[in-house]
Symmetry: C2
Subunit: 457 residues, 2 copies
Amino acid sequence: MTRKILVVGAGKSTAYMLDYFLEKSESENLQITIADLNTDGIAAHIKEHSACTLLTLDISNSEERQRAVSQADIVVSMLPARLHTTIASDCLLHKKHLVTASYLSDDMKAMNEDVTKSGLIFMNEIGLDPGIDHMSAMHIIDQIRDRGGRILLFESFTGGLVAPESDSNLWNYKFTWNPRNVVIAGQGGAAKFIQEGTYKYIPYHKLFRRTEFMEIKGYGTFEAYANRDSLNYREAYGLEDALTLYRGTMRKVGFSKAWNMFVQLGMTDDSYIVENSEGMSYRDFTNLFLPYSPTDSVELKLRHYLKIDQDDSMWGKLLELDLFNPKKIIPLKHATPAQMLQKILEDKWTLAEDDKDMIVMYHKFGYEIHGKKEQIDANMVVVGENRTHTAMAKTVGLPVAMATLLILNKKITTPGVQIPIKKEVYEPVLKELTSYDVVFNEYKVPYLGYNPDTVAG
Amino acid sequence: MTRKILVVGAGKSTAYMLDYFLEKSESENLQITIADLNTDGIAAHIKEHSACTLLTLDISNSEERQRAVSQADIVVSMLPARLHTTIASDCLLHKKHLVTASYLSDDMKAMNEDVTKSGLIFMNEIGLDPGIDHMSAMHIIDQIRDRGGRILLFESFTGGLVAPESDSNLWNYKFTWNPRNVVIAGQGGAAKFIQEGTYKYIPYHKLFRRTEFMEIKGYGTFEAYANRDSLNYREAYGLEDALTLYRGTMRKVGFSKAWNMFVQLGMTDDSYIVENSEGMSYRDFTNLFLPYSPTDSVELKLRHYLKIDQDDSMWGKLLELDLFNPKKIIPLKHATPAQMLQKILEDKWTLAEDDKDMIVMYHKFGYEIHGKKEQIDANMVVVGENRTHTAMAKTVGLPVAMATLLILNKKITTPGVQIPIKKEVYEPVLKELTSYDVVFNEYKVPYLGYNPDTVAG
């Protein structure tokens, strides 16, 4: 009997997911309906596949939406997170399973009782981060526990970066996902974490000066700055007694120190509108944040303000961005500094046609076992194939696709609104991911309780 | 005929005001009613004065409040700003004038039409800052305009400090007003101002590193950091065409550089609650903001983090506050970093029994007249007498008291909701203030369009 999968939203992270479904459409008897307001962007080999149906759907049209949901066996929502609740309500009404890669919202959580009663599975956060991070972490945490160990330390880092072969600028960085999220990263409150049992707080303006280093064999040294709340998932992972909990974002070494220049200047501020932003030159934008002088150059004022020498690599990074160019113009009306900076960065950091992206993930697990303290580090590197088949699309889309099939095939059976931290979910998904070269390497390292390779300046 | 003044709120800034009213009670035929929830704190010589009546008033009791207002000829509200609207509504209902030293709220502004129609005067912002700053600035601005000049530059700075004879700590600072406002000063958005026609923005974490210096004869050098919006009052003062507008807060030189240490550490953050704040030692508080280390001392970590040497005067300032003391305890439950820091500072910065405070104000007026650019600087220093008769109480209370009498005596006659920027208000008040040693000294200085004595580090 044919099983019908409804995919709502055909955005840029769906390439691998759709290929996966279509490859298995015959052996697994799948029929895929792709519903989006605009289906033009969908690749020809998908559109023309016999197992695929396109549906032009206005998500705000309840009748059309309900009809589509009612005809499916399972629904995959790749819409922006705020639209999931509408789809989830439809799924509950028509008794359909649901899979999303987005953060579990409070609205979604509130449906748990009804979903469980109906024997349905609403699987959330089964992309990359959140997603593969949960699964790979719980896989190792459960193994340690099964051996009788007690977790003391858990640190987890993810980065969306540019692949080494496409890494062609001084920042070792290009936008591989939503640029806005990169520009405003870390804002909205101090970062909080625990180290060896003591709480630690880092204000935004110090966030990019308090980094940790980590090595990945064959890919060199990376750094990570702290995410806002490293204590998320403490209960979900059962880590209430862990002494150290730290979650962070990975970059190539040197990015954060350079990014801190923007933070210090105030260029990442998204809380106010700059007067006369439209038509402002890059140079005038930079000068907004520097003291007035009738004679001194913008260049010298900036170097003095940030105390950087002309032969400092930080200086070259600023020049590379054309930050002092009086001819380049920002076309944005009523823009915040963050929006203006984003525009400047997009000039230089947009992926070229043949550029490849790269996903890195790094976990540390410290634990006590039979009176001894030990540590396992695990990391994963995934490099993209091209602009549509990115590492991001692969690591977000494949877990979603695999979970969808596992639910259809009744390999995942526990009902409820959930995230992928149960063995019946992470075991088959992680196993299948390895055949797509999404692989974690594990190493035993000495347990220290902290990272000796930290920067604090 | 006796004129009845109702003073609502008998807080710490009322000493001079009440003395002023009582001194003039006979010659001016005044009867003063002081209404407060608790009248115990009022000094004996006031309480027992024949022209004075005490009224225990619960401001939330509408009937009692209305009765008190209806019996007065004019009402002075010294309540917290948010309570003024209630009193203002009563005044409108019973057709009474109103005087306050607080910022003009939108609610109050909205009453303007009704107040004007009723021929009433609701005078706001007639204390020190706002108050004396408006009056002294408009006094000189109007003089320059009367001579045919056009204002190019207006800068205005105020500081509530400790008097030189009581200046006994390394910070040259004690709390003379609400400590909380000092701890969270500058938060909530970037500071914005104009210099020589260009907008400038300073993020909070750089605010205390972008100061201006200014000299006051006999009192040495002061510094000022920018207020959040220097463009307030641009329209009210008629300065739409001015090239430079800057408002700031004055401190003794070195305070801001040292205060910046707290900002950099994150200790002034008021946006989150610290875990286990109650019973935390000063040392543990400091360590919250420093990287974890199993061996390094809190002292060395801080010096390294902020890059200060042990023989730096900044270091002495931290030691003076006992910031590394493991025995001193913060007793606050569920406290923010800012609240905890305030507690630590209050230990050391509270005025002693015989300490005196000091108010400083500094204005700069740049203007073009007959084709030439000129500048006038004007400044004021007021030193307090003792703990109740502070310079703050004097400079806040006397203008309120004087305006009250001027309204009663029909010397101020223009009706409406207003601030003291009209000649009929500022001329008599400033003149009378000189007899209380509240005096501005004016100097001609060269016009530069900017301050060459700026710090930017």
